[in-house]
Symmetry: C2
Subunit: 345 residues, 2 copies
Amino acid sequence: MPKPRSAPRLADVAARAGVSIATASRSLAGRDGVSEAVAAHVREVALGMGYVANVHARTLAGGATSTVGLIVHEIGDPYFSEIASGVIGVAAKRGLTVQICHSGRDPRNELHQIRTLIAHRTDAIIVAGSGYTEPSLQAESNAALQAFQEGGGRVAVIGRHFIAADSVRPANEAAGHAVTAHLLELGHRRIGVLAGPDVLTTVVDRLAGVATALAAGGLSIADLPVLHTDFTRNGGHAGAERLLAEHPDLTALVALNDAMAIGVLSVLRSHGIAVPQQMSVAGVDDVAVAADLAPSLTTVRLPMTEMGELALTMALKPPSARRRRKNTGHELIVRDSTGPAPAVG
Amino acid sequence: MPKPRSAPRLADVAARAGVSIATASRSLAGRDGVSEAVAAHVREVALGMGYVANVHARTLAGGATSTVGLIVHEIGDPYFSEIASGVIGVAAKRGLTVQICHSGRDPRNELHQIRTLIAHRTDAIIVAGSGYTEPSLQAESNAALQAFQEGGGRVAVIGRHFIAADSVRPANEAAGHAVTAHLLELGHRRIGVLAGPDVLTTVVDRLAGVATALAAGGLSIADLPVLHTDFTRNGGHAGAERLLAEHPDLTALVALNDAMAIGVLSVLRSHGIAVPQQMSVAGVDDVAVAADLAPSLTTVRLPMTEMGELALTMALKPPSARRRRKNTGHELIVRDSTGPAPAVG
DNA sequence: CTGAAAGCGCTAACAA
DNA sequence: TTGTTAGCGCTTTCAG
């Protein structure tokens, strides 16, 4: 059975309204050059027929296009779903639709998704999430994005270096600094760090913040245990188990994102270690649930939703000669998971 | 400065390869009717030029289209981001791209999003999230979806009644039954229910499950306090405050989704009420963090990711005469937030 | 096996 | 103010 064809076309509307196809087009597009009476009539007819313009034809013909692409690591991760929410929010306001793809933090797959989005001729492409410290890993993505921009496409990245495009830059280093300074202030000296893979720039940047805060406090990060595991809840879980086993003297654990911190809290709970009395825990991001964990999580708030909004807003502006950079703010949110360092045993 | 035009077109590839545009098309599409030698050559040239077919032109010309639409309440909500993850996962495997829109649980806006997706001529549209008990609220959406299907479009809904399309049906009633039965078994009799708006079918269905479990236990839901607030964390928070104030004798609180349960736990914690010693709490959904709350949340697991996968898989199958229905399973997950009812004071 | 040409539905000059 | 017409880039008969 052949796919039935039925959606009314502009020509149908025009015929029914008794005008030319051009007039119909103008009326519907709200462009002027049509008498208001005719325009209104056409619109009414169109509505009556349930006419909806074919976006592909419209785009092909050079009309305004209407979709933007968003690449995230994984939409199920709150960090990214909050960013996506911001992007979708401003897109909806502008009548745009958002295509979302998973990169899975795999450079090859990311490249593939970028290509796909380019094929879809989206107005803009937003790439969210950490890049790689090793530039060669994203050289191809970079080139593709570059070509896309040269072809008139717009690009904005969130939390990425090494890509020549407008960018929103989360305060990663400042965030790392802030949590660490907070812990130091509470008297902690034996601090364990749960970091994600060190090929991720986000991890490296946050770690750099940790290091400078430590240095300012007269400590060296080289003297503290830093574990690189997955940048996820399970990575935090596994890392905490190991840190606890190998460094029984720690009084605080800082996780480089909230997902990891959640894993850490879980381990501590199962070991019956009181937080924050015996061990302080802090994260970075301030995902929505952070406030509702028990104990509620001390963390550094990064405005994810706003980052998404910002990125799309920048991407939708006419391109500027030099690329724009927007640095986000950050805010230390002290909750119940951190407390004074226990007196030395 | 005019928008530069640069993406190579099929014609460019054809010219460069020294073949006709038709041959180029066939080679790239992997269709036969071309000598393998020529095809290979064309492919190589295309690759070298970084050629990517224009999806709009391809779609317009009647070629295979390649995108599906997904409408969710709000992508920042874990329930929906997990569903989205499932959808995106299978889409990626099939070389499809996913357009995600927010309905905001507003029937008018939902209709608008459906229209948008139809304009984009997506292959399929998936609508996720509760519908309304009042059919008139979604009559227009229904009609639009109907027309879309008659035009050859595919539709699948998740957790929705009253829409003539393939559907994935979460075990809402069974879930409501399961949590309630669990609480009853633990000896609870004074149970408060935190429900979302009663215009949502999901709420009504889960509530029905609660009622039958209660009835089986010799109780009537009419005798218990049922509060209809927002179907969100804050709704649960506000509702719990009220329930606690007005019904100090309750020993258990069931929230009709985990988001609400999280709000409930937060209230209990701030009131210093021990869970589960003084008050048991249970939710429905089993979002990812449920296991990491403290106390970990007893809930009923609904396979959100799988629901998303299922929905797209169904939608991608050739349409069948009568609509398909897929009921999901459910599983009571007993964790630490529920315990025996305290002895009567 | 390969090429020429007719659209797909729409927008945007260009005429009238 | 309105209509005519030439594409946008691709797929797909239909010829060769």
